[in-house]
Symmetry: D2
Subunit: 394 residues, 4 copies
């Protein structure tokens, strides 16, 4: 008979991310016997009827509702996942925090940097545990990278290369969906995907102090969407077009507080890389390379003190020697997948909720990112190096 506390889960927005978190929360018990909590899928809010049906009959929620307030206010809900469109995050997340719920937001927390700052401040004032979906932190080999860096095996870190390249906006005939409009999506790749790349750098190397940035929109006009079209749908030559109002491409040079140098790049209008969320980190004693496209591998180069090992990068496969991996599959070189990362993320977040310790990455780490992003935006305007200052509200 389990005596673990049961955390009631409420989800607002049952698109991909809402479903992924719900499915993941349900898997924790079977994969983490050592957990200190159990979960109950209490209520799911979405305004699409089929999604509500799937939430109950497929994923196992007790109930599903149209109005998000019924989720936030539900007495059995301890934790609210905010996985609605970005521009709705502020209202929902703040309401959830003020209702005393732990809150998990998909990145970028707020639809704009300012919204993120306000959400973080509200949650901090409410004293609730928060989480943000920088889920790539949880890949076992990324955790291993962090451990190698912290242990000093790489020596002093000299330079870092972070990038996130995705093809989702590469087709010039792809429709002008909400993602390409600053009023609906906020900034472009700097909010959408560069944030993941910078968050990993924050985790691995610590704060960035200065940045020089630039941005570009490669595809400046796109066919206007018809009813229901997304950026995966294509227009025809001759269709009426509209202007893309946020950036396709972002680049930056940075200095880290620890003295390391770095560069970042991100594009959504690129051909070739399909989901290249990747880092290269170099230190005085070694180097690491990791790429989400091959997330169960890492390239490791370590100076060998005694000179016995041949020199070169070693391809390390994920396996149960690395953090979390053995919960999913024993042995070596058997893959885990994207959904499994979501389980780890939720296991750690809900453990924090159950134990009352603040989770990382939480809203504070989201503010770290938008603080960087704000300096980067200033630099894009000024053409000069800008200091990264926290824009957290006191």
């Amino acid at each position: 008979m389990s005596t673990r506390p049961v955390l009631g889960i409420g989800v607002v927005g049952f698109g991909w991310m809402g479903q992924a978190h719900s499915r993941s929360a349900a898997r924790i018990a079977s994969l983490f016997p050592e957990r200190v909590f159990d979960t109950a899928l209490v209520v799911c809010g979405d305004n699409v009827a089929e999604r509500r049906e799937q939430a109950v009959s497929g994923v196992g929620f007790r109930e599903a509702v149209e109005d998000w307030r019924a989720v936030v206010d539900h007495p059995d809900v301890d934790v609210v996942y905010v996985t609605a469109p970005n521009m709705m995050h502020e209202e929902i997340a703040i309401a959830a925090a003020e209702a005393g719920k732990a809150v998990f937001c998909e990145k970028p927390v707020g639809g704009t940097p300012d919204q993120t700052v306000r959400i973080e401040a509200a949650a901090r004032r409410a004293g609730v545990i928060t989480g943000v979906g920088y889920n790539y932190r949880w890949a076992p080999l990324v955790q291993h990278a962090k451990a190698l860096i912290e242990s000093g095996r790489l020596g002093e870190i000299t330079n870092y290369r972070g990038r996130f390249f995705s093809m989702y906006g590469a087709d010039p005939m792809g429709l002008l969906s909400w993602r390409f409009l600053v009023d609906e999506a906020g900034y472009g790749v700097s909010s959408d995907i560069l944030s993941h790349a910078v968050d990993l750098a924050h985790m691995l190397l610590g704060p960035i102090t200065e940045v020089s940035g630039t941005r570009e929109t490669f595809i400046r006009e796109r066919p206007l969407p018809k009813a229901g079209g997304t950026h995966y749908d294509r227009g025809q030559p001759g269709d009426p077009t509209g202007e893309v109002t946020n950036e396709d491409y972002a680049a930056a040079m940075v200095r880290f507080a620890n003295g390391a140098r770095g560069t970042f790049e991100s594009s959504r209008a690129i051909i070739g890389p399909e989901s290249q969320m990747a880092f290269d980190v170099y230190g005085t004693k070694g180097a690491l390379r990791w790429n989400l496209e091959t997330m169960n591998e890492m390239q490791v180069f370590l100076v060998d003190d005694d000179g016995r090992a041949p020199r070169g990068y070693t391809t390390v496969y994920a396996g149960d020697r690395y953090p979390y991996h053995g919960h999913f599959v024993p042995g070596d070189a058997n893959a885990i997948g994207y959904e499994d990362l979501k389980v780890i993320e939720n296991y750690e977040f809900l453990t924090a909720v159950a134990t009352g310790e603040q989770h990382r990455p939480g809203f504070s780490e989201a503010v770290d990112y938008v603080s960087f992003q704000s300096a980067w935006l200033r630099s894009c305007e000024s053409g000069a190096w800008e200091t990264v200052n926290s824009i957290r509200q006191d």
Copy 2:
């Protein structure tokens, strides 16, 4: 309100495989909205108390019992998973089939080829749906490979290379566990891992008609186990040793019914490959290479009719363009994992149960493998080519 039939699941043996199947059956509803059944985890049988506790409180079984017969006989159980030690499979699987349950056995179905044959015959006589855990068939890119071959994109298949190399028996100080003893495990790598490699070839190319085989035991003595030790535990120099009585290494040259040639190799006492379950297939118009260690990638070489494409192998990343993948994660180059393969396997098996159509791979495909294995064993003895004849019981 779902009107899908509910399939009651019973599991015998709650080690890794028993747990993996149970967890996977529980995930189907949230990942496959189009399913024609629902599942209920009815009863789990295992003689270890902690496992029974985890089955109920972790994985969600209604109950857990010590005696496997209570699983097989349970009136609410429609499907029995036989994931107990191999030498127990025959008794359990036949009892389950005779009780009219659908039966899923982890490979190699029987502890010996003869047992496999008897199990298959009993299930056939009982008229029940069967399944066998050749789970690598279900990798989206393996399914894509099958489609490419069947569509003729590779032309006539000329030659095939299958292998399964694993390091689990590579350490000469690893203890003499049951895996190394013919009386406890049956044959060595030919039952344990070569079977996967040959099963994939059966799926991709069809039947093998002739084989020339050889085998070897590289590490002929191992330290005797103390209480509880497995082959992952190490002895000390000077410890008493015993004889390894099944093979570390298997090799074969074959002819397929379609005229193609092939070679197979398997070793458990190898350094380097960690879980190299891999195939290379060559045809008159193209080639494919796939390796479980990088299961979300495939190397594809296709002759380009118009000569416009550069020549070379293309590294294709798994993504939602390929079978099943999009049920787990949308887009390109996001990984799925081992546990996800188990979900696909169970989705397909349970769909067969729900619809009453025989599943493949079922016990019949397991007999296909032991028919091959029997010819291979004869060839290892005779040194000559042997014809592969089905050893299925009439």
Copy 3:
């Protein structure tokens, strides 16, 4: 009986580069039957006796002398290779040009940007053919990349990533050789290796118009050299040290005249990359990746108009389908090497000399690089974007 004109070769400085050019000039006749010239190794100048001995008895020079002026003034010399230390280039190269000889300088032509500018102006005034050792241009697959880009197969180029990472200064105990001193070597990686990376971008994409740059010296003190020590020799802890006075690391963000964006990075104090002179180029229809460490391979990703090809990067091996390759070895996937690139470079340069057409890359392209470098240096100081203006002397 050959009626080709014979070009008399003089070499000043018989270190690695002097030897490599001499050996390469001697190989042209046997590899390029279609050549329009023959070569004669007339005279080699070096102040080291063993090198002079090797020049005559090993490489086949008619004579070897101590004084470089005897090379420049030799009546049978038509072409002078300036492969002496960088700070001597100006005097020698200008003397050679003024003597009416064709002149080939190893990069960076001058020891400083100003010297490069003066050398180029002098050669231009003298009206002689010039060449510079940006030899990576000549790799068959780099030539193929250029052809693919020019043909439009990549569409509009959107962004470019160039880098040159080398481990030669990675060891903090490596001695403070001339390479680390601005007075002896001029600038650090920006002159030594970044120049190659930017030159390739110039060749592939055309001029850079704006740059934002930064630099760093990671290892600021090094053990003082003893007699004869180079940066490959190591000091001991406690040895007296001196200050490194040029940069270990350079980074840049750029805009190209064609609208593309780009980043560059270079380090000599890096662990992992051994000779990673590499580019990634992305366009609206495809992408290419090439790395000197694997110079006989290129990664090619092309959008397939008809959608028949699997999507991913194709690994293309060099072979006789690509420029020059078949002169060295027929067929596919047989490697050529570094020395072979030098043969191609000299074949093209000497063809230009024989036909009287200006060679590219010549001193003009070297000025293109130092024009970029000058803007980059200004940006490193100002922290702002700087316009790249030609610093060529009128």
Copy 4:
């Protein structure tokens, strides 16, 4: 003034191989200052006028003749390279040996195994130094592999995988050239390319004692050639065809004298591999993988005694740390090429000639291969394992 003896070089057959050896002999002096000989290109024999012209004006032979006997009998010739068509080797090589010349034959020495045996016996009786063109032995990383194996770093060798796959016969419309006819070429891939793969195994692991073999001809009819056509030229559908009379494909399972097991495979009618001459070698402490297609790389997996290194294959790039490499280019990860391997081969062969010590691989190693091939052919007929006995003539 050099006091080295001058070895007079004569070449019979000035196709690719004749040219490659001549060019390579001419490069030795400039690349190997430590050599104990010099070379003179004395006379080249070929019946094609343009080739004779290129031999003199391009490569630098003193003279070129039509009749091969004028090469063999030339008083200034010390060394004869036999690079004429295979079926002419016997007459030429025996004449050269009987004239007291050192003899280098391109593989497979004789046009048939019997011819190879007779040539070896004649050369042995004549007491001359011999060489055979198993040039892949000389790749620096292959030499390093040999050193690692001999040093025991891989432990006891357990199994080996050798292969040579080439696309040259993959096109069913490729003409029926001499290569496909047993009367003109001798055996197919077993003579042409499998020999390289087995020779490397002989060098790395030592003798093979037993073999089980099989062969196949995948493309049994080909268009008849018109005047001058080779297998690179294509016929048209409807053209008259003829029968292919030697094998496209060869496979073998073997036992080595040292107890290791192995498999070999070779095909000329394969799509995908372009020049995949490759080996994987596995021992109780490590593994190596090498492939000619990427000859400047090797994959190395070594068990780390102290467990400090991450586990996986390390990609080692060739560089001046490995045998011979630094003669061509200093530093790390700069490539050498096919022509450079020929220089190493000739440097070693001519050193043997100059010092009077027998060279390896010489005709004796060629007999080792045909001894294996003869057993393999017997096994292809018998379907049984056959013992490999030396077929050397006493």
